[in-house]
Each structure stands twice: as C-alpha cells, then as structure tokens.
C-alpha cells in the first residue's frame, strides 16, 4: 500500500464571529512562475534568496504612466528616480523608454552618465552637492535643483570663478494639506523663503532660472495634494513672469506616487486605496491647464520623477523557509532566509507573500522572521499562510522600489539579482556578494597582520 502524502499536523481554534488581527488569507494559488519562468528554476540556478525584476512589467507600468499624463498634457518628460533602483540594467530600460535621469548624489550622477544619459538630461537634486559636484554638473550642462541658500551661494561663487553659466531650478516645499509636511527640502512657499530664493537667483547673471521643483511626499494617498502643489508652483511662476518678465520653462512635480503595496496599519489592501496614475495625472494636468499661468503663454514642460510607482510591481524576492518554531505565547513563527537586511520596505509595508509550491486548503496564523540575529528582523508581524515546511519556497511581491538600494550588508551578503527580459530569458544583472567582495574594502594595520586567532 502506498503511503499517504504528508502534511504537517495542524490545529486551529475556531472563533466564529471574532475579528482576527492576522487577517484573512488573500492568496488562493501558489506563484510558481514569473513572466512564464518557473520560480524553482530561477532559485535552482541563482540561489536563495534572489531578487527578480520583470522587464515586461517595468515597460508596461512606464507606458501606462506616460499614457496617463501624455493624454492630458502636451509636454511631459519623465526623469527616472535613480535612488529608487539604480541597477544599471533597470535604469537603461527606463532610459530606452525615453526617461531622463533624476539623481540626488554624485554617485548617482556618475551612474547616470555611465548609463549614457547626456548631462543636459540629468536633473541634479538633493541637499548634498559639493563644490566639485556642482562644477562637474554645470560643465555637463545639467539642471541644478537648488536645495538651500548655502548651495545657491556656493554655486554662485563657482560660476563667477570658473566663468560658467548654469541652468537651475529651485526646490520649493509647501503645505499641500498632507501632514506631516515635507519641509526639510528646498525653500518654503508659505513663509516667503521661496520668493527670497527666486529674487536671489534672478539677481545672478550667471544663473538661468529654468524651472520650479517640488517633491511633496512619498506614497501619497491623495492625488489632490498634487493639484495644490501644482497651483502653488504656477502662482510662483506667474509672479516671476509678472515681476521679471521671465518665463519658467518647466515645472517638476517630483514623485511620491503610491504603489500597490499595503501600508502597515492600513485596513484595506493598498491596491484598493491608492490613486491610479490617471488620478495623479488628472489632478496635476488639470491644475496647470486651468491656472492663469498655464492658460497664458507657452505651457511649461511637466517633469515627473516617479520612482516607486514605476518599479515596485516589477520586483520580486524569492526566498526559502529555514525553520519553524512555536513562540512562548503559542504563535507559530516561521524563519525565512531573507529579512529586513534585504527587505527594507517591510518596515512600513505588509508585503504580500505567496508560496511557490502547491499547498492544501489549511492555513495558519504566523509571524515571519528573517535570518538575522536581531530582534527587529520581522518581515510580517501577523500573516496567514498555508502550512509551510522547512525548505518551502516563497515569493514576496512588489519589492522593486528601494530594496535594491537601501538593502544592508549585515552578517549576510547581498544576493543575486536577475532580470527576466520581454522574451522570458533570465539575465543576471547583479552578482551576489561574497566575503572577498567585502574584504577587498578592508585594510589591516601592519602591526595586526601577524595576529592569528588562538
């Protein structure tokens, strides 16, 4: 007689009518393929954990955003937000689609140049630009987005010393009705700092004020906040035209558009509450087109620096169950081979996690831990999943934004990252690190070289 299929014994107390903090099970089917490529084959070849990016999803998401804005506003230019995911292969897909580069450090700036972006198609944001960085960017004809007065004065000095001219924008922060305000970057609109900065730039013969920029927040759940921001930038641009007879060429509404991830503490799933790209486009385009600034004269180019909303859905993290245990209070704990070291976004998202193999109808409430020797290494505090076993594989969804830039090297090495191209071919785009990768950066003082462990 053949033996029966084994499934870990399971016991679940039935509490009819009671709410459950673990929520209900959302995933009905295992995720065994990504873009037609078996998850098992990727993990067999590239190991576990492993990040996977879908080129098809990147291009579809990008084209949807371009369609949403392009059908509402005649002059739109995307600038890929490097900090969201600056893997060269990813950046090059966005550039091939027509995106410029938006960078916030000289490291990102040099990456953009390396990816073939011409200097005049790089928007240089961020509060940390050294004199050398500014000089280099100006010589390359990049658009300098000035963050604070110290930068403005420093740039002024460089331009005078080097006999250069720069095209600049001012970063403006403002009250859009969404709190807490993001007022640490740029010049405040309401308290007059923004106008003061405008007057200072307009007094500089070597600076051409080409644009106004804002980045009002991140994971913005209100599209109307962008309408408020667009209106305030238009007010400012109109005032500049009236006072100085100077035309602002572009308005940069930044990024911050939400992805379909679910924020911690959210009652509803992220995809049920976030505005669509069309909502954001309608709010921004409508505000500019209906503003006196937009209705008179030539329309400014609309720049967008969306990152998260364009790449999150295209990223997956594949991982494996290391162990199961029972916590002191009776809860099931499942330990994965990935933690907050790789999934930085698990600090604020309830990531959707799907088993990558068939499972029964039974499911279990559990805590998902990572492999770090660190108490805060919690991937999901409460989640209901099928009866996972040691060695089972899982797929974490919507991890394309920020994880591959904010990941940390703590007791483990960063894993392989692969890209599935539009034909379904898998390409390794970042090799896993090893001990040598890290030791290469270290130096041992001569007097310690002879020391051996006793």
């Amino acid at each position: 007689m053949s033996k029966r299929t084994y499934e870990r014994p399971y016991l679940r107390k039935l509490n009819a009518g009671l709410g459950n903090k673990f929520g209900t099970r959302h995933s009905q089917l295992p995720v065994t393929e990504i873009d037609g490529v078996p998850v098992a084959s990727i993990m067999d070849e590239y190991g576990s954990p492993c990040f996977v990016l879908s080129e098809q999803t990147i291009r579809q998401t990008y084209r949807n955003a371009v369609r949403a804005f392009g059908t509402r506003y005649p002059k739109v230019q995307m600038a890929w937000s490097y900090k969201t995911n600056y893997l060269n292969a990813v950046c090059r897909i966005f550039h091939e689609e027509g995106s410029w580069a938006e960078v916030v450090s000289i490291f990102e700036y040099r990456k953009a140049l390396g990816n073939g972006v011409p200097g005049h198609q790089i928007l240089f944001n961020g509060p940390d630009k050294s004199a050398d960085d500014l000089r280099f960017a100006v010589q390359n004809g990049s658009l300098i987005h000035i963050d604070h007065l110290d930068e403005l004065y420093q740039l002024s000095e460089i331009l005078a010393t080097e006999d250069l001219k720069a095209r600049v924008a001012l970063r403006i922060n403002m009250d859009t009705g969404v709190y807490p305000l993001w007022d640490r970057f740029g010049f405040n609109y309401e308290n007059g700092s923004a106008w003061t900065a405008v007057t200072k730039v307009m007094a500089q013969s070597r600076m051409q004020l080409a644009g106004l920029h804002c980045h009002i927040g991140t994971y913005m759940l209100s599209s109307q906040a962008y309408a408020v921001a667009a209106n305030k930038l238009c007010d400012l641009a109109l005032e500049i035209r009236n006072q100085y007879q100077h035309r602002i060429e572009y308005l940069d509404l930044g990024g911050g558009f939400a992805s379909g991830n679910t924020l911690k503490g959210s009652y509803l799933q992220g995809s049920d509450v976030i505005p669509t790209m069309d909502d954001y486009a309608e709010a921004i385009s409508g505000a500019i087109l209906q503003h006196p600034f937009g209705m008179s004269g030539e329309l400014p180019t609309l720049f967008l620096e969306s990152g998260r909303a364009l790449i999150d859905d295209a990223g997956y993290l594949l991982g494996t169950v290391l162990a199961l245990k029972r916590l002191g209070d009776g809860r099931r704990a499942t330990i994965m081979d990935f933690g907050v070291n790789l999934l930085f976004t698990s600090f604020w998202y309830e990531h959707r996690i799907s088993p990558a193999q068939d499972y029964s109808s039974h499911h279990e409430d559990m805590v998902l831990y990572g492999p770090l020797c660190m108490n805060i290494d919690v991937v999901r505090e409460n989640v209901s999943l099928p009866l996972l076993q040691k060695g089972d594989r899982v797929v974490v969804h919507r991890v394309g934004a920020y994880n591959m830039t904010q990941w940390m090297q703590f007791i483990q090495m960063r894993p392989n990252v692969v890209l599935i191209d539009t034909r379904g071919v898998v390409h390794l785009i970042r090799r896993r690190e090893d001990v040598q990768t890290l030791n290469n950066q270290e130096l041992v003082p001569e007097y310690l070289e002879a020391v051996k462990g006793s």
């Binding site: 084994y6 014994p9 399971y10 016991l11 679940r12 107390k13 039935l14 029972r326």
Partner: protein, 87 residues
C-alpha cells in the same frame, strides 16, 4: 499522555471538546494523531504508526508531533497532567 474524554472528531477534521465548548479544525495528519491518541497509543507508538502511514522522514514526524501535542495540551484537549512537557 491521555486525550480528554468525549472529544469528538468528524471525518473532515472538525474537532469538538464538550468539556470546554471549544471547536477546532485539523487536517488529515492531525486527525490521524487524534485517532491514535483515542486508541491509547503513546508518543513512540504514534510515531511508529505515522511513519507507516505517511510519506515523510522520522525527524520531521518527531518534530511536528511534539508541536501538535503541545498545541493539544495548550487547548486542554490532552489531560493537563498528562500533556508532554507538563511539570
């Protein structure tokens, strides 16, 4: 290790404890363990029986059985004084 009296378990894994009024859901494997407990089998005997019934290794069975018995004790389905780990 003794299962509480009058524990009722249905074919599809619905388990009822009339002493507390609590009801539970279990799977095929759990159902088999409860049946063996009701037959008066001890932990070693249950392991032997399960090994003959299911396609798995002894180490997994041992680990999972210990956890399942802990949960049965925790929910008072095993008599408190006879549950594994009771002091």
């Amino acid at each position: 290790m003794k299962i509480s009296q009058n524990i009722a378990i249905s074919e599809n894994g619905f388990l009822f404890n009339p002493a507390t009024g609590d009801s539970f859901s279990t799977n095929d494997t759990g159902k088999e363990i409860v049946r063996l407990l009701q037959e008066g089998k001890n932990q070693a005997q249950i392991l032997d029986a399960m090994e003959g019934l299911f396609a798995t290794d002894r180490a997994s069975l041992e680990k999972d059985l210990a956890d399942f018995l802990y949960m049965l004790g925790n929910y008072r389905i095993l008599d408190a004084n006879t549950a594994p780990g009771s002091l």
